[in-house]
């Protein structure tokens, strides 16, 4: 079963994908399906080559499909159900089972930026409305395969959280004539206390009101609405920033820090009027990378509990200005 059901109360779509109960769960390294297939492989893996740089493939246990089955349930009364149309891709960052995105180096990160931009265009051409690269890193974030990898979901409609952000940006644009994120960047630059890293083209900062203690946002310093709009110089710059930020996370507590990361940008389709905007998506979209690590200290996690999960009201234990200072202190040296 794989179908999308609408929750009338929250206004969110929920995908029911029962076959995912059977997906591979933390196999030993010699049975890793994301390693290259070599002469020494115990089994043929997903990747039938002995080596690779970055590889992207359709998830064997997708929750959404280009040609989805019809819903199994009959929606009665005011309930709505639809086929789970979409695409779920796996992005394997390296043939090395034992590295992480922080360890692949600037050159591979640069290739990853190209891959994200290319998948955006490929999936947009296939008619999906929102393309979101993301990574769940670490067992505490629910990772079921340890090999370094991310994912890309191509949604049939803009999901609720980015849609809410776009709606807020539309209200701001309508009332001020300016981009909300551009204004936020200007405020953070003027204040300086929450900045983590500034390059020629990008900023990394701890948000003024984050959801997680060491949350970091990364955005271009100009109004760039999506990944494909970045030219080579800006892609180089973003890769260079990530090559410093990711190791800083790992230095923070002295271990490879789990996180959830997502790349948000302009929708690939759909009507901006769903966000209350009569103009175009680029006017209210600003490229944004979000990093949300769950740790609030070396040994303690920030859990989503009553206030957060039921009230939508986040409570955090570290001052954002203090978190930014700690992250700045852990940054590796930048290029000369």
């Amino acid at each position: 079963m794989s179908e999308r059901r609408y929750d009338r109360r929250s206004g969110q779509w929920v995908t029911v994908a029962t076959h995912r109960q059977d997906r591979t769960f933390l196999p030993p390294a010699h049975y890793c399906p994301l390693c290259p297939t070599t002469a020494d492989s115990a089994v043929a893996t997903e990747i039938g080559r002995p080596d690779f740089e970055i590889v992207v493939f359709d998830n064997r246990f997708s929750s959404m499909w280009p040609d989805p089955p019809r819903p199994k349930v009959t929606a009665t009364g005011g309930n709505r159900v639809e086929s789970a149309h979409g695409r779920c891709e796996v992005v394997v960052y390296s043939a090395d089972h034992n590295t992480t995105l922080a360890g692949v180096g600037a050159s591979r990160l640069r290739l990853l930026v190209d891959v994200w931009a290319d998948r955006y265009l490929v999936l947009a051409a296939e008619g999906y409305a929102y393309v979101m690269p993301f990574e769940n890193k670490g067992e505490v974030m629910g990772v079921t395969l340890e090999h370094p990898h991310g994912q890309i979901y191509a949604f049939p409609a803009v999901p609720s959280r980015p849609l809410r952000a776009l709606s807020t940006a539309a209200e701001h644009r309508a009332s001020t004539g300016r981009c909300l994120t551009c204004d936020e960047l200007a405020d953070e630059l003027a204040d300086g206390s929450r900045l983590v890293l500034a390059t020629d083209w990008f900023l990394a900062w701890v948000p003024f009101a984050p959801r997680f203690p060491y949350e970091v946002h990364v955005a271009p310093r100009w109004h760039v609405s999506g990944l494909p709009d970045l030219d080579e110089e800006r892609r180089d710059d973003l890769a260079g920033l990530l090559a410093r930020l990711l190791p800083a996370y790992d230095r923070l507590f002295g271990f490879s820090l789990p996180y959830v990361m997502a790349v948000q940008g302009r929708p690939t389709g759909g009507d901006p009027q769903v966000a209350g905007w009569s103009g175009s998506w680029p006017e209210i979209s600003h490229l944004l990378l979000e990093f949300a690590p769950p740790h609030r200290s070396e040994s303690k996690l920030k859990y989503l509990a009553g206030a957060e999960l039921m009230g939508g009201a986040f409570v955090i234990d570290v001052a954002p200005e203090q978190a930014a200072a700690r992250l700045r202190a852990t940054l590796p040296a930048g290029p000369a």
Binding site: A44, E46, I47, G48, R49, F52, E53, I54, V55, V56, F57, D58, R60, S107, R110, L111, D114, V115, A117, D118, Y120, L121, V122, G177, R178, C179, C182, D183, L185, A186, L189, A190, G192, L195, A198, D200, R221, W222, H223, V224, S225, P228, D229, L230, D231, E232, R234, R235, P282, R328
Partner: protein, 66 residues
Amino acid sequence: MSTGAAQPEQPSASPFEESRAAIPTDPLQPAELLPAEPALPAGTMREVEATADGRRITFYRREPVE
């Protein structure tokens, strides 16, 4: 002439002062969109194949820049 007395400490410059000064445009100005670049810049290669069970698989690699 120095009195030998300790001089009051100058407030240290924000580590981002230089960065702020380097902003070439005011981010509050409505910036025009950057022109779309080719998705795959020169030197980045893509090969599309199929997995053993027919799923799409795409290999990417990047040639070293000269």
